[in-house]
């Protein structure tokens, strides 16, 4: 027990150290992300590296969250900012915008304050001089841009909204500077999707302490309140393992997701109903992704190898026994005390049981029992073992060591009474 206590203390110490170190890291991160802190080139570079590392698309924004845009415009944020313009001069509606679908872009009236461009309807009366200052036109071969302007309307802007739940108003009210999220805009000509915040940027504040960190804080909900994972972009919105051990695209994800379920259960339940767990964990629907189609016929061979660790998904006592019972794959059909069974599907080989006093051959059940006793336990109750082992010593070699023997006697030593009488002097000796 002393070793166990030591182990527990060691783990608690590790937990504490890791927590403190991570806390220090988090504090450092928080101090970096304070809105009042001025941006530096080093910080910008570090963020660019982090953004690149945390993205699946080489630092480019997610196509799912920020769909492709068509920006047929000539515009320079850098030049406008150098001339002294403020963000809110052109993007005035952000102060009241509470929906990511709001465009918050300047219209002709706002641009016209400085540029004195033709107003709406002017194109019907005269040539729309000044449109090409900002807008682009498609030109055919041999056609001048001037002719193209007369003949056509400008190339349409395509600016799909971000598939997020977002309030500019709330962030501005809290004093978050524009450049905290839209990094790089002052150095850019045309602001593109590259200047929209990545998830890493969002999480620098939305860490559960400074601001809420639930998935639904930013991501869209569908009916039922779960996250909307099908955003219409071809692929589904799914974690990639950047922040938690939850890379859904990892080839082994379907058999190795238990750690994520323990470490961050609230993250799972953001998207999944518990019924999804039961699709596999209750065995009602065989998954050929995990098991081949004829699995019901040959799973025993794999189970014998323990290579798939069946118990990770299946309750051994309930999952296996019922089926075997129904299919008559049960002890009386195996070689044992009831004799050799008939039929071609005999499971255990001849020699499996062995004879008392013989040296066990390679097919003897003891070898498999030593290698994977839990496989035996999948089909057999302990009564099967007791048929013979109540009079054949099952104890391991070190059993004669009282300290070793008593190791199994702890927990009231209930398993001992399967064979030993409670008043057995040997048990009394161990309990002393």
């Amino acid at each position: 027990m002393r070793h166990v206590a030591s182990l527990a203390l060691l783990l608690l110490a590790a937990f504490s150290v890791a927590t403190v170190m991570s806390l220090r890291g988090a504090e450092a991160q928080n101090s970096l992300s304070t809105p009042d802190t001025p941006s530096t080139s080093a910080r910008a570079a570090a963020r660019a590296i982090a953004r690149s590392a945390l993205s699946d698309t080489g630092g480019h924004p997610s196509d799912l969250i920020y769909p492709e845009q068509q920006l047929a415009l000539r515009f320079s944020h850098r030049r406008h900012l150098e001339l002294g313009a403020q963000c809110t001069l052109c993007h005035a509606s952000t102060a009241t915008s509470e929906d990511a679908r709001d465009r918050n872009l300047p219209d002709h009236t706002q641009c016209g304050i400085c540029h004195l461009i033709a107003q709406e309807g002017a194109a019907e009366l005269c040539r729309p001089a000044g449109c090409d200052t900002c807008h682009l036109y498609e030109t055919n071969a041999g056609e001048s841009e001037e002719d193209a302007e007369v003949a056509r309307t400008p190339i349409q802007l395509v600016l799909p909204p971000a598939k997020l739940s977002f309030s500019h108003k709330r962030h501005l009210d809290l004093g978050v500077p524009c450049l905290e999220c839209h990094q790089g805009v002052p150095e850019a000509a045309l602001a593109t999707r590259e200047h929209l915040p990545s998830m890493s940027t969002c999480l620098s504040c939305h860490n559960g302490v400074k601001a809420p960190s639930e998935c639904t804080t930013c991501h869209l909900q569908g009916e039922g309140g779960l996250l909307l994972t099908d955003l219409g972009g071809g692929a589904l919105l799914a974690p990639r393992g950047r922040f938690r051990p939850d890379n859904h695209l990892h080839p082994d994800w379907q058999v190795a997701h238990s750690a994520a379920a323990r470490l961050a259960p609230e993250s799972c339940s953001s998207c999944h109903s518990p019924s999804v767990c039961l699709d596999c964990h209750d065995g009602k629907k065989p998954r050929t992704k995990l098991h081949p189609g004829d699995w019901i016929m040959n799973h025993g061979l794999e189970a014998g190898r323990r290579s798939l660790q069946c118990q990770a998904c299946h309750d051994k006592a309930s999952f296996c026994v019922d089926c075997h019972e129904q299919a008559s794959v049960r002890p009386e059909n195996f070689p044992g005390l009831s004799g050799e069974p008939q039929g071609t599907s005999r499971f255990h080989p001849v020699g499996w049981r062995g004879e008392l006093g013989d040296i066990a051959g390679p097919e003897h059940h003891s070898h498999v029992a030593r290698r994977s006793l839990e496989t035996c336990d999948a089909c057999h109750e302990q009564a099967s073992c007791l048929e013979c082992h109540s009079f054949i010593n099952p104890h391991p070699r070190s059993w004669s060591d009282p300290a070793e023997g008593w190791r199994f006697g702890q927990g009231e030593g209930r398993m001992c009474t399967n064979c030993h009488r409670p008043d057995d002097p040997v048990l009394q000796l161990l309990r002393r």
Binding site: S22, A100, G222, P265, V276, D322, P349
Partner: protein, 512 residues
């Protein structure tokens, strides 16, 4: 009415439902996109549903699934047995749409039976109430629920309570209740076997490091009692650390405190140095462990250590490769009466190679190969998979074929060729309805021309009700409710039996 005629009429009804549904407008949604399963509703056409909680309304979700399976297999007595199984499962949830506060109720039920035999089974898979204050400093789930606890318990299903308390960087999880065991329902039986209140229960507590970027840590201890006595005391430690988004370190430890045994220890490192390259290596130690009251806990078992590695490549956007392999080593040689049995070997190996090709968004091909060798005999397997979906993703077709050759040292009579071929057709005429038909042919050394057929019909209905307006995924007059197959005695003496799959409505026939 015989079971065959019922089967024919049921399949005819499914066909009618499919044909009718094709004429209805569609909001396409894919069951499977990019290898990830959809979790529910689609975005519903051109516009997205921006459902930010108003705090004044609530969400309702109803889902139903009807499933039919025809199985044929050979018993250990060389008898060919047939099963015609039908389940209906239902899920219902209601929750408020407050952006932060959380109050909800969710339940899932299942009922069904074997069409060729009398009797029903039925069970409540889960039914719980969730409560969380707006500040989210705590959450409470009361009722029948699932909980991932790790180790031998794995996914625990219990009647009880789970509470989580979230401080700034420390989370505390406490659970307790009566654990339940489901029974495998391919061949349905009465499905719940609790051993009774006060005699069989479990509790546990865990501490979690939360709200840390790229870092998670959980230390938990749990106890399981059977027949009123302590059966297991288990310590679990989980750790995950991400480094710069490129490196993931993960570790798991499960210790059986009563047996004083490290049941499982895993440490894995995964590296993604570039968009097209990823690789990982992991080490695992395993030592089987049993409940204190089980005789199996007395027997000595051999631990093993495994080392595995894998490389993932994506040289082209439409091409993915996975190469994996590893070895499983038994540190101790098998002995009998202190005589080492070297012929059994102490090392087994595995190797796997998978190619995934997706030249078009609606077409995917996967070819894989796997070899197992070493202790217990060799196995070679090969599989091919083809996925095709219509451009709107209303229809998805999946073809699968696999072939294996098994060797088995200790059971040579089982050596031979095994394989299967299957086809799976899923059709989603509406965002809230899905129809599926699948068939599977299997061969093995002792079973020829074994066939399985399955059909399913799923509904998913969501409504958001707020004062003055209601939005829904489907209009209520389109909603065809699925009726529960009523569970009667559940022990084989019921005069009723399941009788078909008709548009999500379970029928019953009277057998007397």
């Amino acid at each position: 009415m015989s079971s065959n005629s019922m089967l024919r009429s049921s399949l005819f009804a499914v066909l009618c439902a499919v044909l009718t549904a094709t004429s209805l407008p569609s909001h396409a949604v894919a069951e499977n996109k990019g290898g990830v399963q959809a979790t529910g509703f689609a975005s519903g056409g051109a516009g997205l549903d921006y459902l930010k909680g108003s705090g004044t309304g609530f969400f309702l979700v109803g889902a139903a699934r009807s499933e039919y399976r025809l199985l044929q297999f050979r018993s250990a007595r060389d008898e060919v047995q047939t099963r015609q199984l039908m389940w209906q499962s239902f899920r219902f949830s209601i929750r408020d749409d407050h952006p932060r506060r959380h109050i909800s109720f969710e339940t899932a039920l299942r009922g069904g039976g074997d069409l060729s035999r009398p009797g029903f089974f039925g069970e409540v898979l889960y039914a719980f109430v969730d409560l969380a204050p707006a500040a989210r400093w705590a959450s409470l789930r009361l009722g029948r629920q699932l909980l991932a606890v790790g180790g031998a318990e794995g996914l625990l299903r219990l009647d009880g309570a789970v509470g989580r308390f979230n401080l700034h960087y420390l989370g505390i999880e406490v659970f307790g209740g009566v654990p339940l065991r489901s029974r495998f329902v391919v061949l349905p039986e009465p499905v719940e076997r609790p051993t009774g209140w006060g005699r069989d229960w479990a509790w546990g507590v865990a501490m979690r490091a939360i709200n840390l970027r790229f870092t998670q840590l959980r230390v938990g201890i749990s106890e399981r009692f059977r027949d009123g006595e302590l059966s297991r005391r288990q310590l679990t430690v989980d750790f995950h650390k991400g480094i710069a988004g490129r490196v993931t370190i993960q570790s798991e430890l499960v210790a059986d405190v009563l047996q004083r045994r490290v049941e499982q220890f895993l440490v894995a490192v995964d590296v993604r140095p570039a968009q097209w390259l990823g690789f990982g290596v992991d080490y695992e130690h395993w030592h089987g462990s049993f409940g204190a009251e089980e005789l199996f806990s007395v027997f000595a078992t051999d631990p093993f250590d495994a080392v595995r590695g894998q490389v993932r490549l994506r040289p082209l956007p439409w091409l993915r490769l996975q190469i994996a392999g590893g070895a499983q080593i038994y540190p101790l040689s098998i002995t009998r009466d202190n005589v080492p049995r070297s012929e059994l070997g102490r090392v087994s190996g595995t190797q796997r190679f998978v190619v995934q090709i997706q030249p078009l968004s609606w077409l995917g091909v996967e070819v894989g190969e796997r070899i197992l060798m070493g202790t217990g005999g060799d196995k070679q397997s090969l599989h091919v998979q083809l996925r095709v979906a219509s451009p709107s993703r209303r229809v998805a077709l999946r073809l699968w074929a696999d072939f294996q050759h098994y060797g088995f040292d200790l059971q040579p009579q089982l050596e031979g060729n095994y394989g299967s071929a299957s086809v799976d057709l899923q059709f989603r005429p509406l965002s809230w309805m899905r129809v599926g038909v699948s068939g599977r042919a299997i061969f093995s050394p002792w079973l020829d021309n074994q066939v399985q057929v399955a059909a399913n019909l799923d509904f998913l209905l969501g409504v958001r009700r707020i004062p003055g307006q209601t939005t829904s995924t489907s209009r209520l007059d389109e909603w065809q409710p699925a009726l529960a197959v009523k569970s009667r005695s559940g022990h084989g003496h019921s005069p009723y039996r399941a009788a078909g799959l008709v548009g999500g409505i379970g029928l019953r026939s009277f057998l007397r």
